[in-house]
C-alpha cells in the first residue's frame, strides 16, 4: 500500500481544497487513499489517450434539499 503523510493531507485540505479536516479523520483518509494510489497509477496501462474523452452523462437535477 502506498503511503501519504498526514501532514501533506492536512496542508492540501487547508491550502488547496479549503475544506477543514479534523485531525482525528486523517488516519482513515490516509488508509483509504493509500490503498488506491497504486491502482490509480495503474490506469495508465489502459492506453487512455486512444479513448474518446467524452464522458458526460447528464445527471438529473440536483435535489433541492434546503441548501
Amino acid at each position: 500500500m502506498a503511503s501519504v503523510s498526514k501532514e501533506l493531507l492536512r496542508i492540501i485540505a487547508e491550502a488547496l481544497a479549503r475544506v477543514p479536516v479534523d485531525p482525528g479523520d486523517l488516519p482513515a483518509i490516509e488508509a483509504q487513499l493509500g490503498a488506491q494510489l497504486d491502482g490509480l497509477a495503474g490506469l495508465d496501462e489502459l492506453d487512455l489517450q486512444s479513448v474518446e474523452p467524452v464522458t458526460v452523462m447528464l445527471p438529473p437535477r440536483e435535489a433541492p434539499h434546503g441548501r
Binding site: 501519504v4 493531507l9 492540501i12 485540505a13 481544497a17 479549503r18 475544506v19 477543514p20 479536516v21 479534523d22 482525528g24 479523520d25 482513515a28 483518509i29 483509504q32 487513499l33 490503498a35 488506491q36 491502482g39 490509480l40 495503474g42 490506469l43 495508465d44 496501462e45 489502459l46 492506453d47 487512455l48 479513448v51 474518446e52 474523452p53 464522458t55 452523462m57 447528464l58 445527471p59 438529473p60 437535477r61 440536483e62 435535489a63 434539499h65 434546503g66 441548501r67
Partner: protein
C-alpha cells in the same frame, strides 16, 4: 389466512388476490402495519412509518378496485422507499442527522410512478448514511437487523430495504446502487435485488451519492416481483436526461420465458479470487444448476477488469465530495465518523485521476460489451463473503485481511462503472445459516434476459421457499 402470513405473500400472489377481491388492500396494509408495530422497534428498518397515510391510500385502492378501476399488479400492494427518495410532505432524512427534518415539496419520479401504479407507501426505510457505505451500520437511526443472523450486517447502503423485505415488513422496496447498494443487502438478506441499466430508471428527485454511478432498483422476495416493480419504474423521464428513450418490454412475460439455449459466461478474474469457501461452493453449484436447466455455461476472460476498483474509487470519492462540500465546510461534526472520512477523501483525488477514471470506464465497458456478444449474461458471486458481524471491521479470506467494505463491494462496483444491468438472487446458505447471493450481469437494457435466467434458477435454488426464522 393469518395477518402474519399475509405479509409473507409475494407481490404477485397478493396482487392476484387483490385483483380477484379475495383480499382487500386495507386488510393487507393493516397486516403490514401490525407487523411493523410489533417488530420494527427492534428491527430498525424504518425511519418513518406512515400509518394513517397508508391506511387512507389502501382505502382509496379498495374503492377503486371495487368499482372496476383496477390499475395493475401493484394496485393495493404495500411497499416502502429508501429514505433518500424524495416524498412530498414526508421527511426524507438520507439516514443522516443533517437532513433529519427535511420535508421535500415534491415526489421523486420513482415515488410518483409507484403511486400511479396504485402501490401503498408504508414508510421510509433506514439506510447507510447518505448511501455511502456497504455495511448498513447507521449511527443515527440504529442498524437494521439481518433476520438471517441478528448479530450480522444487513449490507448497505439499502440496509433497511433489504432487511424489511426479508423480514416481511413490506412487500417490496426501492434501493439505490452506486457501488452495490441494492445487490449487497439483497445478497446478505437473502432476497432478490436488481440494479437496472444506467439510464433505465429515472433518478430525478433522489438525493445523489455519485451522479455517474447512481442507479435505482427494486428489492423483493421473488424474481417475478422484481419484474413487476421494474415495469412500473422503467422508462424515459424528461426530468432525468440520462434516462433512455428506448421502449420498455413486458418484464413479467419475459421472466417466464424458457431459458434453454441461453449462454452464460463465468468470469474468474477478480470475481472468483479470494472467495469465502462456502460462497464459492454455492455459486459454483448454482452454475451447475443452470446447466441442468439447459443453459450453456462457459469460462470467459475480462483481463482488464481489475482496473475497475481504483477507477470507481476516483469517481465515487470525487463526485460525492463535490455534492457534500457545502455541508462538510459547515456541519462536518453532524456526519457519522466513517461517512465523513470517506467523503473527505474525495478532496485528495486529483482532477486528472478522475478524468482518467472516466476514460477507463469506457475501456472496461467495451471489454464487458465484447464478451456479452458471445454470451447472454455473466455469472459472478454478489459478495465474496457472507454477512459479517456488525462489529467486524476487517475480514480474512485465504490469508488476506481487508476492510469489510472492500470485501463487500469487490464484485459489485465494477458493474456500476460499466452501467450494465445486474441482479442478485439467493443461491444458498452457509453452515451458519447466512444467505449467499448469485449475481447475473446482462447487456445494456437487457434486464429481460436477467429476469428470465433468475426466474428459472429460482425454481431450483436451494433457498426456494426458505425464509429466515422470524419472531412470532
Amino acid at each position: 389466512m393469518a395477518a402474519d402470513e399475509l405479509t409473507l405473500l409475494s407481490i404477485a400472489e397478493a396482487g392476484e388476490r387483490l385483483r380477484r377481491r379475495t383480499l382487500s388492500p386495507v386488510e393487507l396494509t393493516r397486516a403490514y402495519l401490525a407487523r411493523i408495530r410489533a417488530e420494527d422497534a427492534a428491527a430498525h428498518c424504518y425511519i418513518t412509518v406512515l400509518q394513517e397515510q397508508a391506511l387512507a391510500s389502501a382505502a382509496t385502492a379498495e374503492r377503486e378496485i371495487g368499482s372496476g378501476r383496477y390499475r395493475g399488479p401493484l394496485h393495493g400492494i404495500p411497499i416502502a422507499l429508501k429514505d433518500l427518495v424524495m416524498t412530498r410532505g414526508i421527511r426524507t432524512t438520507c439516514g443522516s442527522r443533517i437532513l433529519k427534518d427535511w420535508v421535500p415539496d415534491a415526489d421523486a419520479t420513482v415515488a410518483a410512478r409507484l403511486a400511479d401504479a396504485g402501490a401503498i407507501l408504508l414508510g421510509k426505510l433506514n439506510m447507510h448514511e447518505f448511501a455511502y457505505g456497504p455495511t448498513g451500520v447507521n449511527p443515527h437511526y440504529g442498524t437494521p437487523v439481518n433476520p438471517w443472523g441478528r448479530d450480522r450486517m444487513p449490507g448497505g447502503s439499502s440496509s433497511g430495504s433489504g432487511a424489511a423485505v426479508a423480514t416481511g415488513l413490506c412487500a417490496g422496496a426501492l434501493g439505490t446502487d452506486t457501488g452495490g447498494s441494492v445487490r449487497i443487502p439483497a445478497s446478505l438478506c437473502g432476497i432478490v435485488g436488481l440494479k437496472p441499466t444506467y439510464g433505465r430508471v429515472s433518478r430525478a428527485g433522489v438525493v445523489p451519492l455519485a451522479w455517474s454511478l447512481d442507479h435505482i432498483g427494486p428489492m423483493t422476495r421473488t424474481v417475478t416481483d422484481t419484474a413487476l416493480l421494474l415495469q412500473a419504474l422503467a422508462g424515459h423521464d424528461p426530468a432525468d436526461p440520462s434516462t433512455a428513450t428506448l421502449a420498455v418490454p413486458d418484464y413479467r412475460h419475459a421472466s417466464d420465458a424458457d431459458p434453454r439455449g441461453l449462454r452464460i459466461g463465468v468470469v474468474r478474474e477478480v470475481f472468483f479470487e479470494r472467495l469465502h469457501p462456502e460462497v464459492r461452493t454455492a455459486v459454483e453449484a448454482a452454475a451447475r444448476a443452470l446447466e441442468g436447466l439447459g443453459i450453456r455455461v462457459e469460462e470467459i476472460r475480462l483481463p482488464r477488469i481489475h482496473h475497475a476498483g481504483p477507477a470507481t474509487f476516483a469517481i465515487i470519492t470525487a463526485e460525492s465530495m463535490a455534492y457534500h462540500e457545502p455541508y462538510l465546510k459547515t456541519r462536518a461534526s453532524e456526519y457519522g465518523a466513517d461517512v465523513r472520512a470517506r467523503l473527505l477523501t474525495g478532496q485528495f483525488v486529483l482532477a486528472t485521476q478522475y478524468l482518467k477514471a472516466q476514460r477507463a470506464r469506457q475501456v472496461l465497458r467495451a471489454e464487458v460489451d465484447g464478451v456479452l456478444t458471445t454470451v447472454d449474461a455473466l455469472l459472478l458471486p454478489t459478495t465474496p463473503i457472507p454477512a459479517p458481524r456488525t462489529d467486524e471491521r476487517e475480514a480474512t479470506v485465504d490469508g488476506v485481511c481487508e476492510d469489510v467494505r472492500a470485501w463487500l463491494t469487490r464484485c459489485t462496483r465494477p458493474i456500476n462503472l460499466t452501467g450494465h444491468p445486474a441482479l442478485s438472487v439467493p443461491c444458498g446458505l452457509t453452515s451458519d445459516g447466512l444467505p449467499v447471493g448469485l449475481q447475473l450481469v446482462g447487456r445494456h437494457f437487457d434486464e429481460a434476459t436477467l429476469l428470465r435466467l433468475a426466474r428459472a434458477y429460482e425454481t431450483v435454488s436451494p433457498l426456494r421457499d426458505r425464509r429466515p426464522s422470524l419472531p412470532a
